[in-house]
C-alpha cells in the first residue's frame, strides 16, 4: 500500500532547460539573472581581477618576490613597500601578487584532475549500477570518512614535497565529492525519456553515457567545479600553512601567513594581508559558482 512516489522525481523540464542548446535569449536570461544580483557581479569582478593579476604579475609587482634583502627586513608599510617587507626583506605586496599565480595554478590543476577522475567514476557508478555502483560508493565513503583536509594532509605529507605533490593531494581529496555529484546528476538525467529513447534505438551503453548522460549532467558539474576552486585554494593555503604545501621560497599565501605569525608585533600585515587575498579569491569563486547555478537553474539550489 505504501507507494514509493514520496520523493518527487526531478522535473523533466528543469533539466530540459539546461539540456537545450543555449539560444540567444537563453544567454540573455542567464546574464539578466546573473548580473541581477550585486553579490554575483562583485564575485565576477573579483575573479576577473585575480586572473588578470596572475597573468600580468611581472608587470604589476614592484619587486622580485624571491630576492632577499636582509638590510631592509621587517619594514612596516611605506611608500616604497606598501605592505612592508618580511623577515628576509622581500616585498609583501609583490609576494601576494605572485602568490595569485601559485594559488590559481594549483586550484585549476587540482580541480581539473579531480573532475576528470571523479566524473568518470561517477558516470560509471550511475550507469552500470549493481556492484560497480556499490564498490565506487564504498570507496568514496572511505575517502570521505577522513575529514577533507586530513586526507589531503596525509597524501601531501607522505608523498614528499613540491607543487606537483600538492596538486596530486588536493586533486585526490576532491575525487570523492566530484564522483558523488556526477553520479547524482547522471542518475537523475538517466530517468529522462531521451535516455530511454536512446536505448530504444539500440545505442550502446558507452554511447548513451557519452552522448546523452554526460552532456546533460555537465552544466551542474561546471557549477560544482567553480565552487570547488575556492575550496582547493583554501586547502592549498592550509597545507602551506602547516608547512606541507608549496615549498619555500615560492610565494604561497598560506606559507606567508605561517611565516608572518612569528612577526605579528613587527608587522601584522605580513601574516594578515595574504589571508585577505585568500578570502577574496575564495569569495569571488564561490559567488561566481552561486550565480551561475542560479542563472542555469534555480532548482539546483540545495542540490549543489
Amino acid at each position: 500500500m505504501a507507494d514509493k512516489a514520496t520523493v518527487t522525481p526531478p522535473s523533466p523540464d528543469a533539466i530540459g532547460v539546461t539540456a537545450a542548446p543555449p539560444r540567444r535569449s537563453e544567454w540573455r536570461r542567464f546574464a539578466r539573472v546573473y548580473f541581477g544580483r550585486r553579490l554575483y557581479l562583485i564575485g565576477f569582478v573579483i575573479v576577473v581581477i585575480i586572473i588578470l593579476t596572475a597573468i600580468f604579475a611581472p608587470l604589476l609587482a614592484p619587486y622580485d618576490p624571491i630576492q632577499n634583502d636582509l638590510r631592509g627586513k621587517l619594514q612596516g608599510p611605506s611608500g616604497e613597500h606598501w605592505l612592508g617587507t618580511d623577515q628576509l626583506g622581500r616585498d609583501i605586496l609583490s609576494r601576494i601578487i605572485y602568490g595569485t599565480r601559485i594559488s590559481l595554478e594549483i586550484g585549476f590543476a587540482a580541480v581539473f584532475s579531480s573532475a576528470i577522475i571523479g566524473a568518470l567514476m561517477g558516470l560509471a557508478a550511475a550507469h552500470f549500477g549493481g556492484w560497480v555502483f556499490t564498490l565506487i560508493m564504498r570507496v568514496t565513503d572511505a575517502l570521505m570518512a577522513l575529514p577533507g583536509i586530513i586526507l589531503v594532509l596525509l597524501i601531501a605529507g607522505l608523498g614528499g614535497r613540491g607543487i606537483p605533490v600538492v596538486i596530486f593531494a588536493l586533486g585526490f581529496g576532491g575525487v570523492a565529492g566530484m564522483c558523488r555529484m556526477m553520479c547524482g546528476q547522471a542518475l537523475s538525467v538517466k530517468q529522462n525519456d531521451y535516455v530511454l529513447a536512446g536505448r530504444a534505438i539500440g545505442m550502446s551503453n558507452w554511447r548513451i553515457m557519452l552522448t546523452q548522460i554526460f552532456p546533460n549532467a555537465f552544466p551542474p558539474l561546471i557549477v560544482g567545479l567553480t565552487m570547488a576552486i575556492g575550496g582547493v585554494v583554501l586547502g592549498e593555503a592550509g597545507l602551506s600553512f602547516l608547512g606541507i604545501g608549496v615549498p619555500a621560497p615560492n610565494p604561497s599565501w598560506g606559507g606567508m601567513v605561517m611565516d608572518g605569525q612569528r612577526y605579528l608585533l613587527d608587522n601584522a600585515l605580513l601574516s594578515l594581508a595574504p589571508g585577505v587575498a585568500i578570502m577574496l579569491l575564495v569569495f569571488g569563486f564561490n559567488m561566481v559558482g552561486d550565480g551561475v547555478r542560479d542563472a542555469i537553474d534555480p532548482k539546483l539550489r540545495g542540490v549543489l
Binding site: M1, A2, D3, A5, T6, T8, G36
Partner: protein, 328 residues
C-alpha cells in the same frame, strides 16, 4: 437558498520581476448554502488564486488589491490574513482540499496528528476525543481499517487514500464551504470518480457548500449545480450547469465544449475542434477582451471597446461578450 459567500470585484495581483501579473482582475461570484459550484478554466486563468484569495492564503509577492469578500455576514477583507478572526474561520467554517495529495500532507507527522490538529484547535477537543473523532472521520471517507491506519504516516497511504484524508480533514469541523482545488487531477481516473462521488454524498448529507475548481469540464458537468467559467483573470460566463452545457453563449465556453469529447457520443458524429492560439500573457493585457485574438465570432466592436461587463442572457445566466451567439 441563502448566499453564504459573496465575492465582489476581487482583484489579486502579483508583483513579479517581469511586471505586474493581474492573476485575478475583477471577479465576482456568490455561493449559496449546500450548493455545488464549478469554477472552470485553463491553468493560469486565476481560478485557484480566486479561492486562495477568499481564504486569504495569498503569499508574497501576491496581494489582494481590491474587492469585497463577504462570508457569513462578515467582511473578510477587514481581517488581517493571519489575524485571529481569519484563523478562526480558516479550517473551521471554510476549508480547502488541495490538488497534490502527495505533497499536501506533512510527511513527518502521523495522519492522526494532522487530522486532530483542526479538531483540537477549532472544536476544543482533548487529545483522546479528537483521536476518536479522527478515526470516525477516516471511516466516513472510506479509509479501510481506520482505527489502526490512523497512526500511519502519509507515505504509507496511496494517492487516493491521501486525498480521502484531505477530505476528512476538510470536513472535520463541519465547515460551511469546502474549496476543492483540482481535487482529482493528481489521481487516476477510477479513483477520481470515487472521490467525487464521496465528496458529493458528504456535502449533500452535511448541507455544506462545495466549490470544485477544475480545468476538467467532465468533472463539473456531473456534479456542479452552477458553473463559473474563468478566462485570463475574469469570469466570462456563469449560469446553471444545464444552461452552460446546453446553451453556452460565450465564444470561449463554446470553444471549450467543442474541444472535449462527450460521454455516449457516437464516434465520429462530431468533430473535436481545438481552440486556436495560446492563453494571453497576464502581464501585458490589452484593454480589450482577452479572448479576442483567439475568438472566431469577433465583431468590429470588440476591437474598439474595453472588455465588456457581465450581462444577463437568461435566468441566472451571464456572459461577458458583445456578440449574441446561440449554440445548439
Amino acid at each position: 437558498m441563502t448566499s453564504i459567500l459573496d465575492v465582489e470585484n476581487l482583484k489579486t495581483y502579483f508583483k513579479t520581476e517581469y511586471g505586474l501579473v493581474k492573476a485575478v482582475d475583477g471577479v465576482s461570484f456568490h455561493i449559496n448554502q449546500g450548493e455545488i459550484i464549478g469554477l472552470v478554466g485553463e491553468s493560469g486563468c486565476g481560478k485557484s488564486v480566486s479561492i486562495l484569495s477568499v481564504m486569504q492564503l495569498i503569499q508574497k509577492p501576491g496581494e489582494i488589491v481590491d474587492g469585497k469578500i463577504i462570508f457569513d455576514g462578515q467582511d473578510l477583507r477587514k481581517y488581517r490574513s493571519n489575524g485571529p478572526e481569519m484563523r478562526a474561520i480558516r479550517g473551521s467554517k471554510m476549508t480547502m482540499i488541495f490538488q497534490e495529495p502527495m505533497t499536501s500532507l506533512n510527511p513527518v507527522l502521523t495522519i492522526c496528528r494532522q487530522v486532530t490538529e483542526s479538531l483540537e484547535l477549532h472544536l476544543d477537543m482533548d487529545r483522546q476525543a479528537a483521536r476518536e473523532r479522527a478515526i470516525e472521520l477516516l471511516k466516513m471517507v472510506g479509509v479501510p481499517d481506520a482505527a489502526s491506519r490512523v497512526d500511519d504516516y502519509p507515505h504509507q497511504f496511496s494517492g487516493g487514500m491521501r486525498q480521502r484524508v484531505m477530505i476528512a480533514m476538510a470536513l472535520s469541523c463541519n465547515p460551511m464551504i469546502i474549496f476543492a482545488d483540482e481535487p482529482t487531477t493528481a489521481v487516476d481516473v477510477t479513483t477520481q470518480a470515487q472521490l467525487l462521488e464521496l465528496m458529493k454524498d458528504l456535502v449533500t448529507r452535511l448541507n455544506t457548500s462545495l466549490v470544485i475548481v477544475t480545468h476538467n469540464l467532465g468533472v463539473v458537468a456531473r456534479y456542479a449545480q452552477r458553473i463559473y467559467v474563468m478566462y485570463a483573470g475574469r469570469i466570462i460566463e456563469s449560469g446553471l450547469s444545464e444552461d452552460i452545457f446546453g446553451h453556452p453563449h460565450h465564444p470561449y465556453t463554446i470553444g471549450l465544449l467543442h474541444s472535449v469529447p462527450r460521454l455516449g457520443e457516437k464516434h465520429g458524429s462530431r468533430k473535436l475542434i481545438p481552440i486556436d492560439g495560446m492563453p494571453p500573457d497576464l502581464i501585458n493585457m490589452p484593454p480589450t477582451c482577452a479572448f479576442l485574438p483567439r475568438c472566431t465570432y469577433k465583431v468590429e466592436r470588440c476591437q474598439k471597446e474595453p472588455w465588456p461587463a457581465l450581462r444577463a442572457v437568461g435566468d441566472q445566466h451571464y456572459i461577458s461578450c458583445y456578440v449574441d451567439i446561440r449554440e445548439k
